[in-house]
Amino acid sequence: MSEGLVGTLVKPIIYAASEFGRVWFMLMEVTYWTFRRPFKPGYLFKQMEFIGVRSLGIVIITGGFTGMVLALQTYYGFRRFSSEGLVGVTVALSMTRELGPVLTALMVTGRAGSAMAAELGSMRITEQIDALTVMALSPVKYLVVPRVLASFFMVPVLTVIADFIGIIGGYFVGVKLLGINEGLFINKIVKYVDLEDIYNGLVKAAVFGLILSLVSCYKGFHTKGGAEGVGRATTEAVVVSSVTILISDYVLTSLMF
């Protein structure tokens, strides 16, 4: 009984630790190849366009509606204490410190992370990754490095946009729909939101970008078992990235703020 229990408890931990080790090893490989010539800016720009520009729509919608619902909820809460004036700063702080980076990263994981895992997974099962190796080229340099760097740079950029749109959404609901004093709404934001709040949010976003791209590329890169394997890799990429983002969010927040 105890062996079964230990096995049930220990095996997943060992599995998770070994997976973490392999992702860490991939990060080391990515770091090594990032600084090795020849540099391939074309591949990087293509991925920046895919991860950044093409995620704009979903990030704007997510950021906008999150800011709006946040304003709505905090308004109903703060009205009980006659503190409606704090709605603006609450929305702004929540967006910049927490919801902007996290929701952007989760959205990019769903849209671009899944695509990375599926694309690399099908390249693996159709031997395109082996073809690169046979041509004496590093698959990590050509396939993983551009995706990881693009994600590392673009998730913070998308986060800035999500933060801004979220605050605009909060302004629209708070000031235009619920009638909060405009001056009060803006003054509180200017007074209580520091640049540090925004910077720290962007650091978190960069780390999330690194996590989602590394996990997704790792899952795709090591796909096995045909079309079913690609499906499994894609699902695992999204689930593992999302959970890791949420766990690391707590750790980073407790360290930074």
Binding site: Q128, D130, A131, T133, V134, M135, A136
Partner: protein, 254 residues
């Protein structure tokens, strides 16, 4: 120069306790077509992946022109890989690139050739495989046979000494298979490179092979000209030849 370009010595490989290669010994002659025949799942692809360093053996040696490659690191292995071209079973063309870009890719990455020179080389290789009119097509727009021809053009792009073919006629109809076999023979005659082909298509490969090696139960049980293999009396070979049901291929029967 030594006539043997690849020498495999007592090569062993197991996966999860299952023996796949059980002491392979084989010499591949320079400038010839060597076909390794064996049944599906018999370890042919595993053997081929060892030749190019995609897999490491449990024991044994692989010598490429005097260099033992099984203990090389990645950088050293890449030097050896530069001498190889490979046509994969499903061609392994890059989905995101059209036909021209696929063939040009190794040239762009490994040479400093001018654009004009790259274009000339790519067109030469595509002409050799009869696909010069398809440069702008994406891999998804090509048939299985056309993909393999583009794969061959890409394998030939850097003018390698040795070209490996992984089941070049699998999943193709008999007419297209014949075209691919002829193309293998024609390009080998033209470029005079060493070709190593793995296949279970006995009849087709016997047409083009200079040497046939029979892989059975993890070992090379016979090696020789197609004529010698047909006349070989070993039961394993006779059984394999009989399975083709082609008259004259059943171990010397008429």
């Amino acid at each position: 120069m030594d006539d043997t370009v690849i020498r495999i010595v007592d090569l062993h490989k197991s996966f999860n306790g299952q023996r796949v290669l059980d002491g392979i010994n084989l010499d591949v002659k320079r400038g010839k077509i060597t076909v390794i025949i064996g049944k599906s799942g018999g370890g042919k692809s595993v053997l081929m992946k060892h030749l190019i360093g995609l897999l490491k053996p449990d024991s044994g040696e692989i010598w490429i022109d005097g260099t033992e490659i099984t203990k090389l690191n990645d950088r050293e292995l890449n030097q050896v890989r530069m001498r190889f071209g490979m046509l994969f079973q499903e061609a392994a063309l890059f989905d995101s690139m059209n036909v021209f870009e696929n063939v040009a890719f190794p040239l762009r990455e490994h040479t400093r050739l001018e654009k004009k020179e790259i274009k000339r080389t790519v067109e030469d290789r595509l002409k050799a495989v009869g696909l010069l009119a398809f440069t702008e097509k994406m891999p998804s727009e090509l048939s299985g046979g056309m993909k393999k021809r583009v794969g061959l053009a890409r394998a030939l792009a850097l003018d390698p000494d040795i070209i490996l073919f992984d089941e070049p006629t699998s999943a193709l109809d008999p007419v297209i298979s014949l075209t691919i076999e002829d193309l293998i023979k024609e390009t080998q005659t033209r470029f005079q490179k060493t070709y190593v082909v793995i296949s279970h298509d006995i009849a087709g490969m016997f047409r083009i092979a200079d040497t046939v090696a029979m892989l059975y139960d993890g070992k090379i049980v016979a090696s020789g000209t197609p004529y010698e293999i047909k006349r070989n009396g070993q039961e394993a070979i006779k059984e394999f030849l009989r399975a083709t049901k082609i008259p004259g291929l059943a171990g010397g029967e008429p």
